[in-house]
């Protein structure tokens, strides 16, 4: 600190331009793509990070900006963040180049009771721990209570099938004149995850291997029927809570964080329940966010302290209560949860405990090609469902793209596909 004035001027200028700063050595910058909305970020700052010694600054960013910043800082050789929080898939492209292995932290946290399979995901396909699981979520269905009277006879929302969902939405369209089933198929919606984690596992029992199988063909034909009774604005929806709240949509599938607002605002108006089942079971995809330490972190000790703090059982419970993400450690949720979060917790529990559940894990080993992997499913959807191209031909063509992608990355199969030696094959 030989030039205190100029340094503080630089710090102020950098702060002005929205950048992170390397102010004092003891400050820990926690850089995250999760819990971005101002209410959630405030909860993190004021509640969840409370009790940590030293100064921790919580900074959030959109996922694409996060990816660019991580790479840019590596290239520049100047790291600002000491700990980063992001989804499994968002951390994946940064393995090796931008993240440092944290086997020592994993060893320290051995008594937290984080399930083995989650810790395994945190290795991101390598032999060393790359991130520590932070919190988890999944996708659920939400329906407006007005829709329940149109449920087909004998159908129960908690054990719904795709055929029943189609009939239900058709009943609504016939009776009310409006198609009120909605999907988040907009530009920033999570529709790709619907196909990878729900549709394919339910209809084919796999994601990659049976991509163009007879089962997949039958599934896409069912999807076309489902789309015919879905709101045509679905290709504009990004967060289903908005059309749910406006009444434009009565039945929706989405990530719990993206329907939470509707449930929190009007808990009496909605029901939440598991996604439907297909011929091969009830596909579902757990979402895992992790905490990692970037290469050359300016304050590694501070970063480790943040990870230890965020994975404490009491912090995990507070996270569920305050922001609606569920614990990765084994704890029982308290009874006094907010009604909206209680609804979500119920649907998540019903999904996880469903007898026909088929767990579909997040793609592993795709590296920076995760975006193009999503594109395969979205392109297939566009061509078959939106442009009405012949199912078989489209599946043949897209299967080639998928096969090339798998061979380029050498990614082995992940559940529910059968384990493979080498790149996951497309049959």
């Amino acid at each position: 600190m030989t030039h205190p004035v100029s340094l503080s001027a630089i710090v102020a200028a950098a702060a002005l331009f929205g950048g992170l700063t390397v102010a004092e050595a003891q400050e820990t910058i926690f850089y995250s793509t999760q819990l971005r909305p101002i209410e959630e970020a405030t909860k993190v700052r004021d509640v969840l990070l409370k009790g940590l010694p030293g100064k921790t600054t919580y900074v959030v960013d959109e996922p694409p900006a996060f990816a660019v910043r991580m790479k840019a800082e590596t290239q520049a050789g100047k790291r600002t963040a000491s700990v980063v929080g992001a989804l499994h898939g968002e951390l994946q492209p940064h393995v090796q180049a931008d993240l440092q292995p944290i086997d020592d932290v994993a060893a320290k946290l051995a008594d937290r009771g984080i399930p083995e399979n989650l810790m395994e995901l945190g290795k991101l396909g390598t032999s060393q721990q790359q991130y520590i699981p932070w919190m988890q979520a999944t996708y659920v269905m939400v329906a407006n209570k007005q829709a329940l009277q149109y449920l087909p006879e004998g159908a129960d929302v908690n054990t719904l099938t795709y055929a029943q969902l189609q009939q239900w939405a058709k009943n609504i369209a016939d009776k009310t004149g409006q198609r009120r089933l909605g999907f988040p198929a907009g530009p920033t919606g999570l529709m790709a995850r619907f196909f990878q984690g729900y549709f394919y596992p339910s209809f084919t029992g796999g994601v990659v291997t049976p991509f163009k199988s007879v089962d997949a063909e039958a599934g896409w034909n069912a999807m076309k029927e489902l789309w015919a009774v879905s709101n045509p604005n679905s290709t504009n929806y990004n967060f289903m809570q908005e059309p749910l709240l406006s009444g434009e949509v009565w039945i929706a599938w989405d990530h719990i964080a993206r329907v939470k607002e509707a449930l929190a605002l009007q808990p009496d108006q909605y029901v939440a329940f598991p996604a439907p089942a297909g011929p091969k079971g009830r596909g579902y995809m757990p979402v895992v966010a992790g905490l990692a330490i970037p290469k050359d972190a300016p304050n590694r000790a501070g970063g480790v302290a943040v990870i230890e703090h965020m994975t404490k059982p009491e912090t995990q419970l507070a996270t569920a209560a305050e922001v609606g993400f569920f614990p990765v450690v084994k704890v029982d949720l308290p009874q006094d949860l907010a009604p909206g979060i209680k609804l979500l917790a119920g649907a998540v529990a019903a999904t996880q405990n469903a007898r026909d559940a088929v767990v579909s894990l997040l793609p592993v080993g795709l590296g920076a090609k995760g975006g193009e992997f999503n594109k395969v499913y979205i392109d297939t959807f566009q061509r078959i469902v939106l442009r009405n191209e012949p199912v078989k031909e489209v599946l043949e063509a897209q299967a080639k793209v998928l096969d090339t992608l798998m061979k380029d990355t050498g990614a082995p199969c992940w559940a529910p596909d059968r384990p493979s030696q080498g790149a996951c094959p497309v049959q």
Binding site: A67, Q178, E372
Partner: protein
């Protein structure tokens, strides 16, 4: 003195040249490099992927269609508005100020404003419902109503960016000496003839600038389309964004950027040639 004057202009222009060089030429070269550089040397792989993508031909078609519809309408509207404004005696500044309001609004904000008009629960549907013309919320912006969607985007673009053409044309109109028109009037030329034979030819340099600016911007159209149509209406700049951000493939995104630049340069060259003005034709 003359010896000293010779370097002064260069010294004065140097900062902007350096500025452009650092912040424009260097990224441009980098983008071109990014679009042709692949794992093993230089290849056109990214361009092949771009051209083979399912949205590519649609994006090209939509971008050109939008430009072909929007730019002529904007120029015609701006010409009419500019002629009217210059004829005003009172309240000219106020009218001009109101007409140029859209200029001060960011394009994404303009897109969102139009979205609130046109979405299912928007003002248009409320008005139509109140008039008894529709029985419930009607979608105008879905992929099932491509023409309504195209019309909405074209309307929003026309509303948003006519003002920039207007400003350029008004400046041009003010440069034309009144004497020409007065002389023609004395010889009995009617307003339409005067407009066609005097105003329009003398306005050519301004028209050229306005057309170049608007066409180049029309080929880059993005935010309004993104707000209203999302992925339902692929355009070139939107595809570049999707490849960069969603697909995380910077090479193909760069190929799109280079394509947009090539189209813009070609359009500029055409305008420079077709609307060329010889010095003796200037007012």
């Amino acid at each position: 003195m003359p010896a000293r004057a010779s370097w002064i202009p260069y010294a004065l222009i140097a900062p902007s040249v350096v500025f452009l060089g650092v912040l424009f030429i260097v990224p441009l070269v980098q983008t071109v490099w990014l679009s042709v550089a692949t794992g093993d040397g230089i290849s056109l792989e990214n361009y092949q992927r771009m051209a083979g993508d399912l949205n590519f031909s649609l994006a090209v078609r939509n971008t050109f269609l939008l430009t072909l519809v929007v730019v002529p309408v904007q120029v015609a509207l701006a010409l009419a508005m500019a002629t009217m404004v210059t004829k005003l005696d009172k309240g000219r500044d106020l009218v001009l100020w109101v007409l140029t309001i859209p200029l001060g609004i960011s394009d994404l904000a303009a897109g969102l404003a139009w979205l609130s008009l046109l979405q299912n629960t928007g003002y248009l549907n409320s008005a139509l419902y109140a008039l008894g013309l529709i029985s419930g919320p009607t979608g105008w912006l879905s992929q099932e109503t491509p023409w309504a969607l195209f019309f909405s985007i074209a309307m929003a673009e026309i509303w948003r960016a006519t003002a920039i053409v207007l400003v350029i044309l008004i400046a041009g109109l003010q440069l034309i000496p009144k004497e020409f028109s007065e002389a023609a009037e004395i010889f009995g030329a009617r307003p339409w003839t005067r407009f066609r034979r005097i105003t329009l030819p003398l306005l050519k340099p301004s028209l050229q600038s306005a057309l170049i600016l608007r066409t180049v911007l029309a080929f880059e159209v993005f935010a309004v389309v993104y707000a209203l149509g999302g992925r339902n209406f692929p355009v070139l700049a939107g595809e570049a964004y999707v490849w960069q951000n969603d697909n995380q493939n910077y090479g193909v995104a760069a190929a799109y950027a280079v394509l947009i630049m090539t189209i813009s340069l070609a359009a500029t060259a055409v305008y420079l040639r077709v609307l060329r003005t010889r010095p003796e034709q200037l007012p």
